[in-house]
């Protein structure tokens, strides 16, 4: 046992027991469950129609009737926040899913075959990497018009290089280890090595990157909607709502922007915490 391992102390307790003693993790998990719950069921349970105008209550402060108040057109903010969960969560989820799947496939192919495949993939990744995600998203909007589809597709591509770089480095290190050579000498097939040994080994890396990516995707998509290039009013996307609440902010009704903003921050925070803990745990398990 090396000094480093000694310094890290005893082998970590089983995950379930460790999690029970980690209030932050529990809180983050609860937030996530709540947000996902809202995204799945929220619209069904919302107190009002999110697009219904209530002329009697324009920019009203929170009250019993409207717990989060109403916006400048007299729409119920709570209902809109609930309705906005689905588009606000779905975008980042798609971005992360697509970029991770593409990225892992390219990375594993690069590491596995090396040579020309690796060279071409690396060059491609370099080029994509040179175009910042937001710029690519704006370019996509210019091409295909406003809406969520173009930015989501653009970000899925823009987030791929970072996945490729991380996973490729991990895969190369893993493939260089003797146990892979031992499996090959046994005559174990390439696909079996890939799915039974290589991918599980890379899972902590992939997971960590996916959660970080989710945070950034959520921020980027919200920014695009906020700028008016993504989801279009009257949609109740959180980014759009924050933008819509801006004038009220200056006239003294901050809650129209604050509630959706708080939800974005909370969601990203919760995903980051859960991701970080899961990764530490997965790494400890492998060591």
């Amino acid at each position: 046992m090396s000094i480093g391992q000694l310094a890290r102390g005893r082998t970590p307790a089983p995950a379930r027991r460790a999690a029970a003693h980690d209030p932050l993790l529990i809180a983050a998990a609860l937030v996530l469950v709540a947000v996902i719950g809202i995204a799945l069921l929220g619209p069904l349970r919302s107190p009002y129609d999110p697009d219904q105008l209530y002329a009697g209550a324009v920019s009203a402060p929170p009250s019993l009737a409207h717990p989060f108040g109403t916006d400048d057109l007299g729409r119920d903010v709570l209902s809109r926040v609930l309705a906005g969960a689905r588009p606000s969560i779905a975008g980042p989820v798609i971005v992360v899913a697509v970029s991770t799947m593409l990225g892992v496939a390219v990375a594993v192919a690069s590491a596995w075959f090396g040579g020309a495949v690796d060279g071409i993939a690396s060059r491609l990744v370099d080029v994509i990497f040179a175009i910042p995600g937001l710029v690519l998203a704006v370019l996509a909007v210019a091409m295909f018009g406003k809406g969520l589809l173009a930015p989501v597709v653009a970000l899925s591509i823009a987030y791929m290089p970072i996945v490729v770089r991380l996973v490729r480095a991990g895969a190369r290190a893993e493939l260089g280890r003797p146990y892979i050579a031992a499996l090959r000498i046994q005559g174990v097939g390439s696909l079996a090595i890939c799915f039974r040994h290589l991918l599980p080994a890379l899972l902590p890396t992939i997971l960590a990157q996916a959660t970080v990516g989710f945070g950034y995707a959520m921020l980027d998509i919200a920014a695009i909607s906020f700028l008016g290039l993504g989801a279009q009013p009257p949609a109740s996307d959180w980014g759009v709502m924050i933008a819509g609440g801006q004038p009220a902010l200056l006239t003294g009704a901050p809650e129209q922007s604050m509630f959706p903003a708080a939800l974005i921050v909370l969601t990203v925070l919760a995903v980051n915490i859960v991701g970080a803990r899961t990764t530490t745990w997965a790494e400890a398990k492998d060591r």
Binding site: A130, P132, V135, V138, L139, V141, A142, K146, L229
Partner: protein, 56 residues
Amino acid sequence: MGGIGSLLTEAAARKDLPVVQVLSLLLVTVFVVLNAVVDVVIAIIDPDSVKSRRSA
């Protein structure tokens, strides 16, 4: 804000393609050149890094 930002978003919203093209290219150039400059600075601090960085 009166900077490049508002110009680019507005151009994208109005499909002003020449503006979007040029601004994208400008940003990409800045991005690439800046990263290259940093690479050179790092190579001066740590000459051994040059060989390994590409594979990282």
